[in-house]
């Protein structure tokens, strides 16, 4: 900018304008500092309390009755994995399928409507999805279950996976499809064996991101899986889940339960950050999809 002012015909930039420029630069640096401060505080405190509270009992025992020290969240860790498995089994095929529809058959009005619906569904509060899980599973089963929680989380996965899958499939060059058609390969085979296969790493990225998002969800589980103090490996029964247990323990008045809530949070965040990191690794190694 100083080259401009050096031309004699242009008057120098006034002090006021220069000061405003500097002030605004300082202000935006300040916003970055203010935004990063809570992030660092949250992560720092989480690691500090989480590592300090984590022990072997926590990972292998079930909760002790109120008032007794010790115990752990082993049942909640297993329960969370079970609920997430149910959600993935239901949500992933539908999400990927809907993504394929949008990419391969969705260049029309119907496609735009579905695309817009998926975007809007993405913003529906998770607690409302929980009500739907309650209404369509719990009311028919007449009791709370891991299945109901899984269905609610699956509903949350579909729009996210659908949109990322579509984006990834659209990155596959049209020439590949034409080459396949030219060889007489039927459309379904082209889509599954060539287009989807080419975009695999990108699609997996989308799936993992959706997974990371639902892994920490608590609100939809409150009145679908309910929680459980004991071992349960049957998907049709009320089941403990890590985020639920953290919530209950955080609200309790017991110091030992607070400690376990931090340990639980640490385990949960390791699960989520671990899957995001795995995704970045897969993407970097993958030949095609770049998220």
């Amino acid at each position: 900018m100083s080259e401009i002012t050096s031309k004699t015909t242009v008057p120098p930039i006034s002090l006021r304008r220069r000061l405003t420029d500097h002030a605004m630069t300082a202000a935006s640096v300040l916003t970055v500092v203010i935004v990063l401060a809570p992030l660092i505080a949250i992560f720092g405190y989480l690691v500090y309390r989480g590592v300090g509270s984590l022990n072997w009992d926590f990972l292998t025992k079930t909760p002790k009755p109120v008032g007794e020290l010790g115990g752990g969240m082993a049942n909640a860790i297993v329960g969370s994995i079970m609920i997430l498995a149910v959600a993935s089994v239901i949500g992933v095929p539908f999400g990927v399928g809907a993504g394929i529809y949008l990419a391969e058959f969705g260049r029309n009005r119907m496609g735009s409507i579905i695309r817009f619906t998926a975007d809007v569904l993405n913003g529906v509060p998770s607690i409302v999805i929980g009500i739907v899980g309650y209404a369509i599973v719990v009311l028919y089963q007449h009791h709370f279950s891991a299945l109901a929680g899984g269905v609610a989380l699956a509903i949350m996965m579909v729009p996210t996976i659908c949109r990322t899958t579509e984006e990834m499939l659209l990155l596959v060059p049209q020439a590949l499809r034409e080459a396949a058609y030219g060889l007489g390969v039927p459309r379904w085979r082209t889509t599954l064996s060539i287009v989807l296969r080419t975009a695999t790493s990108g699609v997996i990225t989308g799936v993992m991101l959706a997974f990371a998002r639902i892994a920490g969800e608590t609100a939809p589980l409150l009145f679908t899986t309910l929680g459980n103090q004991f071992w349960n490996t049957h998907p049709g029964e009320p089941t403990a889940a890590l985020p639920l247990q953290i919530y209950v323990y955080a609200n309790s008045p017991y110091e030992d339960w607070h400690r376990q809530a931090w340990a639980g949070s640490f385990v949960l965040i390791i699960l989520i950050v671990g899957s995001v990191a795995a995704v970045r690794y897969v993407v970097r190694r993958g030949s095609f999809g770049t998220a």
Binding site: F105, I131, V132, T218
Partner: protein, 333 residues
């Protein structure tokens, strides 16, 4: 793109010798149709899910709707024992906590986005946006846990006494500094929606054509003047879209808010006072609701929350779309 090539060449070369699986199925007009129907069904499932949500919410809130009508949204009595339900305190709490969050989050989020797109050295850009987006990956319940044990003591010990002394005359910052309350909820919501607003703002700023910046600089603008005239003004609609999207998230946010807002159905002017939101009353009372009218009233709150967020989100998407033109905006990681 080495991936697909082996598939093609092996298919061509061995086609004469022995029919490869890819070609053998070329008579699959039937399979093609079946495939198209299956995939279309998956696509329509997205519509189906939305329809299902609407259907269940409307169906199951009918009882409360018949009992209270529009009065439900205008009265503030919440008495499960006598089956009198009015949702006004929850609506008030949701709106006020989200508003507080927006007031705090918008300048910060836009500032971060401006810094990362316009000022930041290239090397820092990647890590910085990664860190900000990492904030979006933290589960709500962990924000809540942190807020309960770190933010709330901080507020009641230092921030609230200070605000009460300096700004108490406005009436917004009066009453005992419990820490827990509307202010705490607003602050934790702000921390949670900053990544959404800032990542969308960044996307929008990046599609502003480079020649707009160059033109402003050529006219002798300072960097800030260039950002204000050449960049922010062009991206206005998209930024507003991002803000509304953040608002949508704040309105429906449940766990962190429930843990710090105090959960008392009252309408108080002071931000220090405890409140209640639509999402937190669902979280707290749904699984223990006894009686059909009680449950139905809670579901009606869910329906209202759903409708508000749908409208807010649809509006936001349209505004972001007008700027980015077809490139879909992605709010989260």
């Amino acid at each position: 793109m080495p991936g697909p090539q082996p598939v093609d060449t092996t298919g061509v070369m061995s086609a004469q010798a022995q029919r490869m699986p890819l070609l053998r199925s070329s008579d699959g007009a039937m399979a093609d149709r079946l495939f198209k129907y299956t995939i279309t069904a998956c696509g329509f499932a997205v519509l189906g899910v939305l329809a299902l949500i609407v259907y269940e919410l409307v169906l199951r809130s009918g009882l409360s709707w018949h009992a209270f009508g529009f009065k439900f949204f205008a009265t503030s009595e919440w008495d499960p024992v006598n089956e009198q339900f009015g949702a006004l305190p929850f609506i008030y709490g949701t709106l006020v906590s989200s508003l507080v969050a927006l007031i705090i989050a918008v300048p910060l989020a836009v500032g971060v986005a401006v810094f990362t797109t316009e000022m930041c050295p290239k090397k820092l850009r990647g890590p910085l946006s990664f860190f900000v987006e990492l904030l979006a990956a933290i589960p709500s319940v962990i924000y809540g846990l942190w807020a309960v044990f770190v933010l709330v003591p901080l507020l009641s010990g230092y921030v609230q006494p200070f605000l009460g002394k300096t700004l108490g005359w406005t009436g917004l910052f009066t009453g005992p500094p419990y820490g827990i309350g509307m202010l705490a909820a607003g602050i934790i919501l702000a921390i949670m929606i900053i990544p959404i607003i800032s990542s969308i703002t960044r996307e929008v700023l990046m599609v502003v054509p480079q020649h707009q910046r160059e033109a402003a600089l050529a006219l002798g603008a300072t960097r800030w003047e260039m950002i204000r005239v050449g960049v922010l003004r062009n991206a206005r609609a998209g930024i507003v879209g991002g803000i509304i999207l953040g608002l949508g998230r704040a309105l429906g946010e449940t766990m962190a808010v429930t843990m710090v807002i105090g959960n008392r159905p009252e309408i108080a002017k002071s931000l220090f006072a405890p409140g209640y939101t639509m999402a937190s009353v669902l979280a707290n009372e749904f699984s223990e609701a006894t009686g059909d009218v009680y449950l139905s009233a809670l579901i009606e709150i869910g329906l209202a929350l759903f409708l508000v967020t749908i409208v807010v989100n649809a509006l936001a998407r349209l505004m972001v779309w007008t700027v980015t033109r077809g490139q879909p905006a992605r709010g989260h990681v």
